[in-house]
């Protein structure tokens, strides 16, 4: 409904492929499990993953049939979503990069640094160019959350290199 363009969406076959790969993986993993079954557990840990894997393969095929017949899923809308625009891969890539830096830095450098990098990087990726104000907000947020949650409420957040300083 929301700006769904009347054209076949070939990328959907990728989803079918993904479902089939997951299905194959689940079956392969289940076959590796030793068969353990006894009177208290007649079927053991194997059958459920095998059933799920088979169902995934079946659904992958049915999904592909649906796509071939012209079926499309309606992309999700939202307040800030412009569904007619193409996917902006540059922004998505930069966000993933900012997130990756955060997950690498969180233990060695600590949450205050990694969280600030995450916020600043994400704001940059999303098009905010007021670098100084972004930096102030980023550091302010990560310091506030660290004091409030880690020190105030005892939530697990690492202090990292700033251990002893904060």
């Amino acid at each position: 409904m929301t700006g769904a363009v009347a054209r076949s969406d070939k990328a959907q076959y990728g989803v079918c492929g993904f479902l089939a790969i997951v299905g194959g993986l689940v079956i392969a993993d289940a076959l590796r499990i030793q068969h353990i079954a006894n009177s208290t557990d007649p079927i053991g840990p194997k059958p459920v993953p095998i059933v799920l894997g088979v169902l995934l393969l079946v659904v992958a095929v049915l999904y592909a049939v649906d796509v071939a017949r012209g079926g499309t899923g309606e992309a999700e809308g939202g307040e800030d979503v412009d569904p007619t625009s193409p996917v902006d891969w540059r922004t998505v890539g930069l966000l993933i990069a900012a997130f990756a830096v955060n997950l690498v830095l969180i233990e060695p450098a600590g949450w205050v640094i990694s969280g600030a990098v995450l916020f600043w990087g994400s704001a940059y990726a999303l098009g905010s160019r007021n670098h100084l104000r972004n930096l102030v907000i980023a550091v302010g947020l990560s310091l506030t959350t660290f004091y409030l949650f880690a020190i105030g409420l005892g939530v697990n957040l690492p202090a990292g290199v700033l251990q002893g300083i904060l």
Partner: protein, 494 residues
């Protein structure tokens, strides 16, 4: 009597402060564009971590109602609702706001939510103990059947593609499979990673799919010119508005609670039913589509009553039927509370404290929202880069805080990418999250059922009750075929 004790446990100055805090933060976050109730609850989980269970529940009840109400404010003032349950509210609510009646739309939504929430919570207090009494007599095969019904209900939401719903459900079930099998100690899908042995934490899944997935998806399609926010004064209603609102509130509640309480219910059906009913009964049918107050009052009440209704299966059976209840269940598990029939017996104080907190949260919400609406409307103008950067920031903080391991952040990112993919291809999110939570429980019940029948497959099917449920499941799954054959249905299949 139990409920009075619940109030006695909850009514201390400190707890009231927590309830106020929960409602305020819940509304403030829920009002933000792009953040629905489920994401509000998932993102705000960390603030409940350092508290005692009762206090955490009180804070949580406030967040729950605050997040629900925040979402409807957004849909009235901005249009394009963040979640399917608010679609109907947006239709008439936004039209009212555009024609200068934003204050009345917000007022009827707030008061209607309060009325529906109060009646709904009261019904919850009456019905849940009965459901528990009934649930205690249920055997493993019955539970299995109920869970399969929840799966069927989640995948066959009105008007969406079934095959996509089933695909999402299966992905969720696979995620739920990861970890050590509790019965035999065998590792499944852990690929030798020791941190995966305990499985993927449901909180990480919820935050990844809802928050990170949503932020990435919006970022990919960010509107360069944000929608216009309609300015609003203090909400109020005139006599005519009251006269036109009170019946829709009650009718909406009557639809919302029972349908919400069903294992395959949800909020979409009652809100649509309520809208259709009000349109039919209204003395001003010509106003529908141009901002009829009944079209806001009824669906808003239905939405809130159904939220209270979903708490019945969630608390009494441990069965979440919408995304918010799914996140709530995950939260309760992280406090060491396992919802289900035994919860009412073992920790009845806790249950009644929660129900009492829901009443209080609902009241505070009303008192807070009427005067604060203009302030909430200002939040809608937050610069989008900060909003989505903030979502990623709090999402990664919350996910890390669960187990304090960086691997959870890797999972969070992967799940975020999965959430992005679901949104891109129109796969529904709810079946996935229901699959993650109920999958392991359904497997346990199935194996228990087989154990009781000494491995005889008949044991899986159970007795009369489960036959009835399986008949319902079949009807749900075959509904498109049945409805096609009905004489009134003349629409050509697309």
């Amino acid at each position: 009597m139990d409920l009075l004790n619940g109030f006695a446990d909850v009514l201390t100055p400190m707890n009231l402060l927590l309830a106020l805090l929960g409602v305020t933060v819940g509304t403030a976050v829920g009002v933000l564009p792009g953040i629905g109730p489920a994401m509000t609850v998932a993102l705000l989980l960390p603030i409940t971590y350092g508290l005692e269970p009762v206090q955490a529940l009180i804070l949580f009840a406030g967040i729950f109602y605050g997040g629900m109400y925040g979402g409807s404010t957004t849909s009235i003032l901005l249009n394009t609702p963040g979640e399917s349950a608010s679609v109907v509210t947006a239709i008439e609510g936004n039209k009212m706001a555009r024609s200068g009646r934003a204050a009345q739309a917000l007022a009827t939504a707030a008061i209607g939510s309060f009325v529906a929430g109060t009646i709904g919570t009261l019904l919850l207090a009456l019905v849940a103990p009965q459901v528990v009494k009934f649930a205690i007599s249920l055997g493993a095969p019955d539970y299995l059947a109920i869970m399969l019904l929840a799966f069927a209900g989640a995948t066959s939401v009105l008007g969406s593609s079934r095959i996509r719903g089933i695909a999402a459900l299966l992905l969720g079930l696979v995620i739920g499979l990861v970890g050590i099998d509790k019965v035999t100690g065998q590792q499944r899908l852990t690929f030798g990673v020791p941190q995966l042995a305990d499985g993927i934490d449901v909180v990480v899944v919820a935050v990844g799919i809802f928050a990170v997935g949503e932020a990435l998806w919006v970022a990919a399609h960010l509107r360069r010119t944000p929608g216009t926010v309609i300015p609003v004064g203090r909400p109020w209603m005139g006599r005519a508005d009251w006269r036109r609102s009170w019946k829709p509130w009650l009718r909406g509640t009557a639809y919302g609670f029972p349908i919400g309480a069903l294992p395959a219910g949800g909020a979409e059906i009652p809100t649509f039913l309520s809208y259709a009913t009000e349109k039919k009964l209204s003395k001003h049918p010509e106003e529908f589509g141009h901002g009829a107050i009944e079209g806001v009052a009824g669906p808003e009440a239905a939405n809130n009553a159904s939220a209270a209704g979903t708490l019945v299966p969630m608390l009494a059976l441990g069965l979440p039927t919408n995304a918010t209840a799914a996140v709530m269940l995950a939260a309760f598990t992280s406090y060491g509370i396992q919802p289900g029939p035994l919860l009412f017996q073992r920790e009845s104080r806790l249950v009644w404290a929660l129900i009492a907190s829901l009443f209080i949260g609902n009241l505070i919400l009303l008192l807070l929202n009427l005067p604060l609406a203009p302030a909430w409307a200002k939040l809608l103008q937050i610069p989008r880069p900060y909003l989505y950067a903030g979502i990623l920031f709090f999402a990664s903080m919350g996910a890390y805080a669960v187990n304090a391991q960086p691997l959870d952040l890797v999972l969070l990112l992967l799940l975020g990418l999965l959430g992005f993919t679901l949104r891109r291809f129109g796969l529904p999110v709810l079946p996935l999250i229901i699959g993650v939570i109920l999958g392991p429980l359904a497997e346990r019940q199935a194996r228990l059922a087989l154990q009781l029948s000494n491995g005889h497959p008949q044991g899986l099917l159970g007795g009369p009750l489960s036959y009835l449920i399986y008949a319902l499941i079949l009807a749900l799954l075959l509904w498109p075929l049945i409805s096609k054959r009905l004489p009134t249905h003349t629409k050509q299949p697309a």
